[in-house]
Every structure is written in structure tokens, then in C-alpha cells.
């Protein structure tokens, strides 16, 4: 068994899980929801083993390092963290349908990584040879994943809120009946960000600590750093929106979506469109 075979199985599992979630949403049969989450868990397990295997394979090749060193590996890890955070949320709160709005992000990541990116294992360039890489990347991506989940929940919130407003009578029928009430969605959105914000804060701090250790400056306003701060500002605004009159509900949901868009730009856009110190992630 090689890691690349397992990664293909993972991608396939996420595809099946997502489709099952869609059918579950339309058909409302409970067993479909259980099947969808079971397949997602299976995919998560396969992916966990695959990441471990790839780690070992890099040692067998004599360039041993954690599988977090280029764009392919980071996208795979991002997809893993998304499913992980969703699994934790599912175990704790049991609002299964959220999977229909979260699994597409995980699938998108895996599909892009497997089809569009260079999957080779490469040796680490000197700039990345540090344990800080591990702390920094893991905290950042766990934070990003929580924001992805929050974004999925916020989209559900907006759909549900629009629907509730336009059509009161049939509120319980059809697909909308499957959605948790908007109050619950609002709360889940907050809870996901409550997980993501401290992790992003840690991610920025470990990045600053690493920069200080390696370059003697903990902050140099390079585009990647600045964008991570922009993301941080948006979610800080989200947290304060909840205690500000006139900012709850829809506006908070939009802030969460904008926050995730900024997160994705920070992760991918900066490398594709802007130049800076973080050559990492740019390797095609």
C-alpha cells in the first residue's frame, strides 16, 4: 500500500460522502446521513494513514521531513483538518447536515491536490529546516479549517434565514426542514470561530517567533503576514459583532464568509498573485 493510492481512496470517499449528504438533504432518510458521515470518517482514517505513510516514505527516500513542505502537502493537510474539525463538531453537537456544506471544501482540496499539483516528495530547502515549521503550519491550518466549517455553516444560515423570511408556512417541509434553526446555526458559527480564532492567533505567533528566530524580525509586513493579520482583524470584528447592536445574525454570517474568503486568499492568493518571503506553498 502506498500513500498515493490511499490519497486516491480518500478523494473518492469524500466524493461519495458529499453525494450521500446531498441525497440525505433532499431525501431526509436518516440512514443516508449515517452512511454519509461513516464514509467521511472512513476517508479521514485513510487520509490519516496516508499522511503517516508519506512521512515514512520521505524517510525511506533519505529526505525525511513532515509532509507539510510544499503546496501539495499543505492542501492535503488542509483538507484533512477540515474533515477533522467537522468530525469533532459532529461528535459534540450532532447536526449532521452541516456535512453537506463542509465536505465540498474537503473534496475540492483533495481533488485539486491529486489532479492539479505536483505530488513528488522533495527535500527541504534550508529556510524550512526548522521545528517551527511544524508548529506554525499545524496551528494555522487547524485554524483555517475551523473557519472553513464556520463558512459552510454561515452559508446555511443565510439560506435558511432567507427562506424563513420569504415563506413562513412551508418552513418545516422540504430541504429546509433538515436545516437546524437559525439560532442554532448562529451559535455553531460562533463555536467554530471560537475554535479557529485562538488557533489562528497561535499560528501568527508561532510564525512571528520563527521569523524572529530565523531572520531576526518577528514582523516584516510581508504580504503573507499582513494577510494573516487581515484575517485576524476580520474574525476579531466577528467576535465583537456579537456584542454590538445591529451586527448580529446576517451581518455576522457575512463577516464569517468574508473572513474565510480572506483566509483562502492568505493561503493561496498571496502566493499566486503577490510576491514575498513565503516562497513556501508556491511550488507547482
Amino acid at each position: 500500500m502506498t500513500s498515493s493510492l490511499l490519497f486516491n481512496i480518500t478523494t473518492f470517499a469524500y466524493l461519495i460522502s458529499m453525494l450521500l449528504f446531498f441525497v440525505f438533504l433532499a431525501g431526509r432518510a436518516k440512514v443516508l446521513g449515517t452512511a454519509a458521515i461513516a464514509v467521511a470518517y472512513g476517508g479521514l482514517l485513510a487520509q490519516t494513514v496516508a499522511i503517516g505513510l508519506r512521512w515514512k516514505e520521505s524517510y525511506d527516500m533519505g529526505v525525511g521531513h513532515a509532509p507539510l513542505s510544499n503546496l501539495y502537502e499543505s492542501v492535503v493537510f488542509f483538507s484533512w483538518t477540515i474533515v477533522l474539525i467537522y468530525a469533532l463538531l459532529d461528535i459534540k453537537y450532532k447536526y449532521r447536515v452541516i456535512g453537506a456544506f463542509v465536505m465540498p471544501f474537503a473534496l475540492l482540496g483533495m481533488a485539486w491536490a491529486q489532479l492539479g499539483l505536483n505530488t513528488g516528495i522533495e527535500p527541504l530547502v534550508p529556510a524550512l529546516q526548522s521545528n517551527w515549521l511544524l508548529y506554525h503550519v499545524i496551528t494555522c491550518f487547524l485554524g483555517y479549517a475551523a473557519f472553513a466549517v464556520a463558512c459552510g455553516i454561515s452559508i446555511m444560515y443565510l439560506i435558511k434565514a432567507n427562506h424563513d423570511e420569504s415563506d413562513h408556512k412551508s418552513g418545516e417541509a422540504g430541504i429546509m426542514g433538515m436545516f437546524p434553526p437559525i439560532k442554532v446555526l448562529d451559535d455553531l458559527n460562533y463555536r467554530a470561530i471560537m475554535v479557529g480564532f485562538p488557533l489562528l492567533t497561535l499560528g501568527i505567533i508561532t510564525g512571528a517567533a520563527w521569523a524572529n528566530y530565523a531572520w531576526g524580525t518577528y514582523w516584516s509586513w510581508d504580504p503573507k503576514e499582513t494577510w494573516s493579520l487581515i484575517v485576524w482583524f476580520v474574525y476579531a470584528a466577528f467576535l465583537h459583532a456579537r456584542i454590538t447592536k445591529g451586527w448580529v445574525g446576517r451581518r455576522a454570517a457575512w463577516l464569517s464568509i468574508v473572513g474565510f474568503a480572506a483566509t483562502i486568499f492568505c493561503y493561496l492568493g498571496v502566493n499566486l498573485f503577490l510576491s514575498g518571503l513565503h516562497s513556501y506553498g508556491g511550488g507547482k
Binding site: V63, P123, V125, P126, A127, Q129, S130, W132, D187, M194, F197, P198, T201, L202, I205, A208, A209, N212, Y213, A214, W215, G216, T217, Y218, W219, W221, P223, T226, W227, L229, I230, F233, V234, A236, A237, H240, A241, I243, T244, W247, A262, V270, L274, S275
Partner: protein, 460 residues
């Protein structure tokens, strides 16, 4: 002070305390920070300046866009955020302090109305006995209660972790501590750069603003080396450095190894591996296409030299053994860049052991001249980044406070339980500062256990 002035000061205070201002500032900071990620900061590269119009350059300069994170308007927003933070905290702290230090211990009707978790247990026991039982239960199950008698009723009050209400203020304080650390760094620290040749020592460095700074000691480069992976990609850049005080090596800082991600710190000044190069001479011969008129040529380090035909060249990189990069070839080689008199530039490799390749290259490019590489006298230098930042510890302290504070603010909560014993009824009320759902569950559990506790002992 007139009432008008008072009103003005009052609304100014309210303005600075308001969360609407916080929202405005956080979102504005997020949006305008984008500018500096699109426009290059510091000294923009020539190609960038050439790609935009002169009017734009003037405008950007006037607005401070080339150094926007230090521009007055960006700093002003940060100051406003700080004032907002301090004002808001000052306004709310007394109230929070009161909740912590002077808790409401009596479960009045009004308080009962405001609580979302309330339950009543009926019991015909003597109130004084009930009071003892409930007190013992709360002590064992939740926290030690305080008991007061008021309006002919017994009131019990117990609480857990009241101090975690302060965590938000510690998060806010941490932002200010980080700002203070950054300010100290920018006032009393510096960033600089120094090149040291193998075997030589320096005691002065050049700061980023171009000033010469005295280190107070000297630093000698013993050796610089580069290691490669089998593929030719760089693996390690290594400087061996010795710190000298009054010309004498300092024992623990002799032959210290500095590589990327592993710097050397001495007396609060840190040296980081940043770049390197060869300052030694490279040797070439230049001839016509038919091999006539050979001239030997010496290139000093990175300097540019003129060739007999009027073009100029400089060395980009050189190796002692080209087989690391190209399997079929051997011997020394140099990558050079050639600028012809008609303004064309090209970069190519010149070999020592493969004159035929040098000739072939020249032929393909027309009339010559032909370059042959003769090897180099190696004299490596290392480029070190130098930094001194006395504020950095304070920044880390602020970061630590922020992370701990956020964790407590999000995942811990101040929980309170009130009990009133009156008219054969035990009324229990509960409240948590955070995480209502989880608290509701534990409240229901507590009431259920209390109910069995109070009813079971009636049997015998």
C-alpha cells in the same frame, strides 16, 4: 464647565467607548492593510516603478503608500484602536469588578425573573434543616455556599471561577503590551547587515537606514561553506564565526556555527545567515573564434570587466566541479552574464575542461569572442543579517497573555447558583457567563441530584 462642554466631553467619551467604533476600526484596518500587500513596500524595485505612471508614483509617495504601515494614517488607526480599547475597558471594568467582589447573594423575585435556569423543589422539612442539607450538598457538588437570611427566607449563594470574567481584559491588555514591545523595539533596536570575508573580522555594521553602527566587539569569519543535495539543490549554508573582545576570542563564542534557522546571539545582538558569495578572483582567457589573440582575464568577485570587443561581463556563480549539476561534464565551470555593446544580455556557462563547448557557444552566437574558464581563487564571504530588539521579550509576554486570555475567555465561565428556602419550597437559580448550553445541562443534573438528596432522607 458649561453643560455644553460637559455634553461634548460626554459624547466624546461615549464615542471612544463604543463598540461601533471598534467594528469600524477593525474592518478599516483589515481593508486598508491590503494596499501594502499590492504595492511593494520600502524601496520598490525598478521594474515595478517602470511599470506604473509617473503620476501614480507621485500620488503613492504623497499618500505614503510605499511605506504605508509606518504612515501617519495607519499609525493613527492603531492609536485610535488603543484608545478605544482602554476607554471601553475602563468603562466596563468597575461593573465587572463589582460582580466579582460584591456578588448578589439574595435570590430576589427580580433576579429569579432574569435567570434562564430556575427550578423549584417542594419539601415540608424545617427550613433550618433544609438550609443545612442544601449547604452540604452545594459544598460537595458545586462550591462552598454563603448563607444569608433575608425577608424571612434562607438564601444560599455559591460560585465558581468568578475571576475568568477578567480574561477579556487581559486579552485587551495584551494587545497594548504587544504595541509597547513593538514601540521599544523601534526606538531602541536596529536591523542591519554585514559582509565578512573569510579570515577577516568586522566591528561595525551597516544599519538599514545606512548608518554605521559600532558593535562594541568584533566578529571574525573563520570559514564559509555550502553543502548540496545529490540533485544539486542547496542543503546548508554554514558560517563558522568567532567573537573577539579586544582582539581576543571569547571562549564560548569561538568557532560558533551559524546556519539558516540557527543564528548566533552575543550581548543581545543576533547574527543570522542571510547570503554569501565569492570575493576571490575568477580567471578566464578570451580569444577570437579561431583561437587567435588569446588574452587572460581576471574578474574580481562580483565586479564587471570589459572584454576586448567592448562587451562587459560578470560572474553569477561558479563551481569547482560541474558534474554535480551535469553528469556528463567535469571540472570547474562558471555561469557568466554578458552584455554586448548593442545592449543585449545573455547568461551562459563557461567550462574549464570542455573548450569545445565554449567554442560551440560562441559560434552559435556569431562572431565571438570565445571565453574559456581557468578556475577561481576561492575567497568566500558571508552575508549576515544583524538585529537588536530589546522589545521582543515584551512582545512575547503580550502574546502569552493573549493566548492564555483568549483560551479562558472562550472555554471557561463564571458559574453561579442561588438557592432560596421559603414556604416549603427550595428555589434554585443558575447563571453562567459563557457556554449556556453546557451550563443548562449541568444545572439540570445538579437539580436532579439535589432533589433526590432532599427527598430520600424523608423515608425513614
Amino acid at each position: 464647565m458649561t453643560t455644553q462642554q460637559k455634553d461634548f466631553l460626554h459624547s466624546l467619551w461615549d464615542f471612544f467607548c463604543s463598540l461601533k467604533l471598534t467594528m469600524f476600526l477593525l474592518i478599516s484596518l483589515a481593508v486598508i492593510s491590503i494596499i501594502g500587500t499590492v504595492i511593494p513596500q520600502g524601496t520598490p524595485p525598478e521594474e515595478y516603478l517602470a511599470s506604473i505612471s509617473l503620476a501614480k508614483i507621485k500620488l503613492y509617495k504623497a499618500l505614503g503608500f510605499f511605506d504605508m504601515y509606518h504612515s501617519w494614517w495607519f499609525i493613527l488607526l492603531l492609536y485610535l484602536l488603543t484608545v478605544n480599547l482602554v476607554a471601553c475597558s475602563f468603562k466596563r471594568l468597575p461593573h465587572i469588578w463589582k460582580i466579582i467582589t460584591e456578588p448578589v447573594k439574595v435570590l430576589s423575585g427580580a433576579l429569579e425573573q432574569s435567570l434562564s435556569n430556575v427550578a423549584t423543589i417542594r419539601s415540608s422539612d424545617d427550613p433550618a434543616v433544609l438550609k443545612e442539607k442544601v449547604a452540604a450538598f452545594l459544598k460537595a457538588d458545586f462550591a462552598e455556599p454563603e448563607v444569608v437570611e433575608a425577608d424571612g427566607a434562607w438564601h444560599l449563594f455559591a460560585q465558581k471561577a468568578p475571576w475568568c470574567r477578567l480574561s477579556v481584559y487581559f486579552v485587551h491588555l495584551s494587545v497594548i503590551i504587544i504595541f509597547i514591545g513593538a514601540l521599544i523595539g523601534s526606538l531602541f533596536g536596529y536591523k542591519g547587515f554585514v559582509n565578512i570575508l573569510e579570515g577577516e573580522s568586522v566591528s561595525k555594521i551597516e544599519s538599514r537606514s545606512g548608518k554605521q553602527l559600532d558593535l562594541g566587539f568584533a566578529l571574525r569569519l573563520e570559514k564559509f561553506s555550502v553543502a548540496h543535495y545529490a540533485s544539486g539543490a542547496p542543503k546548508e549554508f554554514k558560517s563558522i564565526l568567532t567573537v573577539l573582545e579586544n582582539g581576543k576570542p571569547v571562549p564560548d563564542y569561538t568557532n560558533a556555527r551559524v546556519i539558516v534557522n540557527d543564528p548566533l546571539t552575543y550581548k543581545g545582538i543576533t547574527f543570522y545567515q542571510s547570503s554569501y558569495g565569492n570575493a576571490g578572483n575568477y580567471f578566464f582567457t578570451v580569444s577570437d573564434l579561431d583561437g587567435k589573440n588569446p588574452v587572460s582575464l581576471t574578474v574580481e568577485g562580483k565586479a564587471s570587466v570589459n572584454l576586448p570587443d567592448g562587451s562587459s561581463m560578470h560572474v553569477l556563480e561558479a563551481t569547482r566541479d560541474v558534474s554535480e549539476f551535469a553528469k556528463d561534464l567535469s571540472g570547474p565551470a562558471a555561469q557568466v552574464e554578458l552584455h554586448t555593446p548593442d545592449g543585449k544580455a545573455e547568461s551562459f556557462v563557461v567550462y574549464a575542461n570542455h573548450p569545445e563547448l565554449n567554442l560551440q557557444h560562441a559560434k552559435e552566437h556569431g562572431k565571438g569572442p570565445v571565453l574559456h574558464y581557468k578556475g577561481a581563487e576561492e575567497r568566500m564571504y558571508t552575508g549576515l543579517q544583524v538585529a537588536k530588539d530589546p522589545g521582543v521579550e515584551i512582545v512575547w509576554l503580550g502574546c502569552l497573555l493573549m493566548v492564555v486570555g483568549i483560551y479562558i475567555a472562550f472555554f471557561m465561565s463564571h458559574r453561579r447558583i442561588w438557592v432560596r428556602i421559603q414556604h416549603g419550597a427550595v428555589t434554585v437559580g443558575g447563571n453562567a457567563s459563557k457556554n449556556q448550553g453546557a451550563f443548562q445541562q449541568s444545572f439540570e443534573g445538579l437539580v436532579a441530584r439535589l432533589t433526590t438528596d432532599l427527598t430520600k432522607e424523608k423515608q425513614p
